[in-house]
Symmetry: C2
Subunit: 171 residues, 2 copies
């Protein structure tokens, strides 16, 4: 079955945008998006982007700690255990990252008035400023690359991307 599939795939060896792929033309849009996402999810792309955006923001803000800041900014004060699934690490991981951020003055720990066991992680003023700064840098970075697009197309693309992410396979 797999052998047959492979054979069929390799019978149609058309070139997609010069790349050396050799699969069919069906689902062209899906493959085009898949390739773009693959590029975006590459480690080199992510680290390079993070490095450029966190330039001069202190050692505490990096690829590991920023998701904690970002999620707190989006949802408000949360406990470590509550934050864990959003950040994508265990609650012990959230604790370690939060400790770094607390030492840098970007967040503070407050006893949860509703649960004596928990501590709420709260953004400080500096933490809020850091998130806003980073978000503005990314937005500016993005818009600079869209400046050559015809009027309205960037806004349309932004809308489509938002629609894709919220209703798509990643929500």
């Amino acid at each position: 079955m797999r052998a047959l599939r492979t054979l069929l795939l390799h019978c149609s060896s058309n070139s997609v945008r010069g790349a050396r792929y050799s699969w069919g033309v069906e689902n062209q849009a899906g493959h085009e998006i898949a390739d773009a996402l693959g590029m975006l999810l590459r480690r080199s792309t992510r680290t390079q982007l993070h490095r450029r955006l966190t330039e001069g923001m202190g050692e505490a803000v990096d690829e590991l700690t920023y998701p904690v800041l970002s999620t707190l900014a989006r949802t408000g004060p949360r406990s470590a255990a509550d934050l864990a699934p959003d950040v994508g690490v265990d609650r012990s991981g959230v604790t370690r990252r939060a400790s770094r951020l607390e030492a840098a003055g970007l967040i503070r720990r407050e006893p949860d008035p509703a649960d004596g066991r928990a501590y709420l992680l709260v953004l400080t003023e500096e933490g809020r400023a850091a998130v806003a700064e980073l978000r503005d840098r990314l937005a500016a970075h993005i818009m600079a690359s869209l400046s050559s697009w015809p009027p309205g197309e960037a806004e349309r693309f932004a809308h489509d991307l938002h629609r894709f992410m919220t209703g798509g396979p990643f929500s």
Copy 2:
């Protein structure tokens, strides 16, 4: 200067799509794209996606080794040192990942006829099939989430995304 900026930012505390942000409305498209990309680059999103896509494909294919396979499929046989910047790790990292893939029969090492020091990493037939399978799964996954879009809009979005990635801040 930063204090002034922060102050200005927090004077306009409008709500964007229900999120608890408090920054201006300028560069709306940039911020919308930035938020979508932030969601996409999150660790939880990436690991979840990789886990779903590599289901039942053997232990050798995972988040670490797939970029090696994918890059080889895109560019043809390459040496480890040549591949390293594309994959986003050191050449020793490429060696380690390639060894796992070679043990699983997905790639093979061939002496580079043009350089006696180098070995070319070459996809085997199984390796090509694995890449095709994974790429098809992702494309199908994506298209399923776009099935409810009006005719033509998915294709338009695919085109825009490709244009954004190749001409954008990640190229």
